[in-house]
């Protein structure tokens, strides 16, 4: 179903509103500032409770609710009566180890977890002002409780080692390098000659640089990683649900891993099999518009806003070659009585605005009205609809929690009708799995190429995970029972390529808020781009002649360490 919008409105919404002028930049900066501050806040909560021992460990659900509450209240008083929509663009999700996206438990969630030492925890969040979005994700390491150092402060006992450390290193270096590449697109004459890039930054250059970094750390770029252009209200929040025209970005999928393995093979001659290498994505796409299908053939141009979302998983060396793929988990599929299995209930939803339906239940009609009135096209959680959200931490917390819980019980009833009628789409919780190659190769591909997995929507053109083998997503799903879990590190930052002042504005991430945790990998940069990457990183550090980068700084707020759900002290919000 296509939304019909007149030509004039299309011009205003897609072109004029996305031109970077001082007002637009201010909105972007504010969104960046709030998301940065929220990350600082959550990091301080985790440090206080897990490392410094100032507080009992926070559970994932508590962290999510506190983060969401912070973002909502921080945006409450800005641009009052000036913009129609502002708020959370990505509810706080806390993804631990092999969970890649989407774990944001509600308070009554059964699988609600606290972290163990050695876990890698990814915080993902985002907010928007008038549709100008700043998303971020950062991977932290949970250490054992700190030990007293000579100067009296608590320090970690040592760096994280092993395969998770490889992933953290690869993700950090790859995202910083892509950021530098995007920055260099503003002044293409500064691009290092050793990259052989010519005079422009293209999608294929970004892909090959990231792939080479992954390879040197013995990692694989996890499917759904992407470096993409974002626009007002189009920050990739409904990918797979709504096909976005003029999609511009590099997207990694299982098909790229398939090609990489093929190129490793001694029995594969690339020159003879050009047809296999350049696979036509449009052939199997469920939409036929070429522009909605991601392709690497684009040039990064000044004046655009990009989202760098890199997820890395260590390749297994013990089990031989294989694929890294994603598995959606929920509270129903594969559930058994073992306490070991991870069966979280998906809690993040997104409204599909293209669908309308006359609902039967009064509660669902009420919920839909609330969603359409208060929330935007961005993902939301059920607790955001409650009248007690955001929580006022100056008042009695337990009362407010009870209210939120009470609102949620009725909302849950309504929500089931909304999801059944596809008015609201559930965002899946996905885990990374390693699938040994022999298992894939021993599978017959008799189901045909149309076996799309409708429950886990992907970007158009990527419906077939292994197009060269002809293996469908449904078939791949059945193989996952013989797969292993792998840890994933993720770094996401949003950058504005400001063509006015020829500088890159980093809205989220950066050395102040998202500094890398202490890790040590036994690998180091190798391959043909090593020289180019180190030159690029040097350019970003050179303030005078290098690539100009400005970071959005978090607001100066003293977070009280007792800002807790069970505590009675107050949290300063704005």
């Amino acid at each position: 179903m296509e939304l019909a919008v007149s030509q004039r409105d299309t011009n205003i919404l897609l072109r004029e509103k996305n031109v970077l002028n001082p007002t637009v930049l201010d909105k972007y900066r504010l969104a960046g500032q709030v998301s940065q501050t929220c990350l600082t806040y959550l990091t301080s909560l985790i440090n206080d409770s897990y490392h410094l021992g100032k507080h009992a460990p926070y559970s994932a659900a508590e962290l999510c609710l506190l983060g969401d509450s912070y973002m909502k209240s921080a945006l409450k008083n800005v641009y009052k009566n000036q913009v129609k929509e502002k708020g959370i663009a990505q509810p706080v999700t806390i993804d631990v180890n092999d969970v890649v996206v989407g774990y944001a438990p509600e308070l009554d969630e059964e699988s609600n977890i606290t972290f163990k030492a050695g876990d890698i925890v990814t915080i993902n969040l985002g907010c928007h002002v008038d549709g100008y979005t700043s998303n971020l994700a950062h991977t932290l390491v949970i250490y054992p409780p700190g030990v007293q150092s000579e100067d009296g402060s608590l320090k970690p006992t040592g760096p994280l080692l092993g395969t998770p450390a490889d992933a953290v290193c690869a993700a950090h270096i790859a995202s910083e390098t892509v950021l530098a590449l995007l920055g260099a697109s503003l002044t293409p004459e500064k691009l290092p000659k050793s990259l052989n890039a010519g005079n422009s930054v293209t999608g294929s250059l970004i892909r090959s640089v990231v792939d080479s970094i992954a390879e040197s750390f013995n990692c694989t770029v996890v499917p759904t990683s992407k470096v993409r252009r974002i626009r007002r209200f189009l920050a990739g929040q409904a990918e797979g649900v709504v096909a976005e025209r003029e999609f511009k970005g590099v997207v990694w999928s299982e098909a790229d891993q398939e090609l990489r393995l093929l190129r490793q093979s001694s029995k594969f001659d690339e020159k003879d099999n050009q047809q296999i290498v350049t696979f036509d994505k449009a052939k199997n796409a469920s939409v036929s518009s070429v522009s909605a299908i991601p392709s690497d053939e684009f040039v990064v141009s000044p004046g655009e806003v990009y989202m760098i979302d890199i997820k890395m998983a260590p390749s297994q060396t013990v089990d031989g070659p294989g694929l890294i793929t994603l598995q959606a988990v929920d509270n129903i599929t594969g559930k058994n009585h073992s306490n070991e299995t991870f069966n979280p209930k998906p809690s993040v939803f997104v409204r599909d605005v293209a669908i309308s339906h006359q609902l039967k239940l009064k509660t669902s009609r009420k919920l839909l009205t609330a969603i359409d009135r208060d929330l935007s096209v961005y993902p939301f959680k059920l607790s955001h609809v409650s009248s007690s959200f955001p929580m006022n931490l100056k008042k009695d917390i337990s009362e407010q929690l009870k209210d939120i819980h009470k609102d949620m019980i009725t909302a849950r009833l309504g929500l089931s009708e909304l999801t059944n009628r596809h008015l609201v789409i559930t965002k899946p919780i996905q885990r990374a799995r390693f699938l040994p190659l022999p298992i894939v190769l021993n599978t017959a591909t008799s189901t045909g190429v149309k076996g799309f997995d409708a429950e886990n929507p992907v970007l158009p053109g990527l419906e077939l995970p292994l197009p060269r083998l002809g293996l469908t997503s449904l078939k791949l799903k059945t193989l996952l029972k013989s797969s292993k879990s792998v840890p994933v590190a993720r770094e996401l930052s949003t950058v504005v390529l400001n063509n006015g002042s020829n500088e890159l504005i980093r809205l989220s991430g950066g050395s102040k808020t998202a500094k890398p945790s202490w890790v040590h990998s036994e690998f180091q940069l190798a391959g043909q781009y090593t020289q180019g990457i180190s030159e690029l990183i040097q350019l970003t550090q050179d303030a005078r002649f290098g690539i100009k980068i400005k970071e959005c700084q978090p607001m100066n707020i003293e977070f009280s360490s007792d800002a807790t759900i069970s505590g009675e002290t107050e949290m300063q919000l704005d």
Partner: protein, 157 residues
């Protein structure tokens, strides 16, 4: 038809009259008006995502194709292509008779060749990937670690 005294009998009240009047007065918007106005055109399920905008597409129609008709068209196309193949075959036979030789190649149906080629292609891919598995088992792809490695961050929380 309800009887004269039936409860269901529609009453000739004013509201009904007004409604029917309004219904009859609504006219479909003329084609020219749709094109000149800046209002959004009502979209239909057809030609969605075809890449063409509503304005630029000349041969875009506003009605949907029913499932039944789609099937029928598909079936008829199949018959038509079969007929075409028969005439091709006849022509080839004719040519063969005239020239008195038998080594004239008949161009097969394109669909079968593409299917066959995709099967061949899949076989090539499968063999190549098995080679990767075998090489790994033989220990060709062992990752070598050299240098001091990489350290990020520092000893602080």
């Amino acid at each position: 038809m309800p009887s004269k005294n039936s409860i269901n009998k529609p009453k000739d009240n004013i509201i009904r009259q007004r409604k029917s009047l309004r219904r009859s007065s609504v006219r479909p918007v003329s084609k020219d008006r749709v094109e000149s106005s800046d209002k959004p055109v009502k979209s239909t399920a057809l030609a969605v995502y075809s890449g063409a905008t509503l304005r630029s597409a000349k041969n875009l129609v506003q009605h949907t194709l029913s499932n039944k008709r789609a099937k029928k068209i598909e079936r008829n196309q199949k018959y038509a292509s079969a007929r075409k193949l028969n005439t091709d075959q006849l022509l080839v036979d004719l040519a063969a008779q005239q020239e008195g030789s038998m080594d004239i190649d008949l161009e097969g149906k394109p669909e079968t060749t593409s299917k066959k080629s995709s099967k061949i292609q899949e076989g090539v891919v499968r063999n190549a990937l098995w080679a990767v598995v075998e090489d790994a088992a033989a220990g060709t792809f062992n990752v070598t670690v050299s240098g001091d490695g990489t350290t990020l961050g520092g000893p602080s929380f």
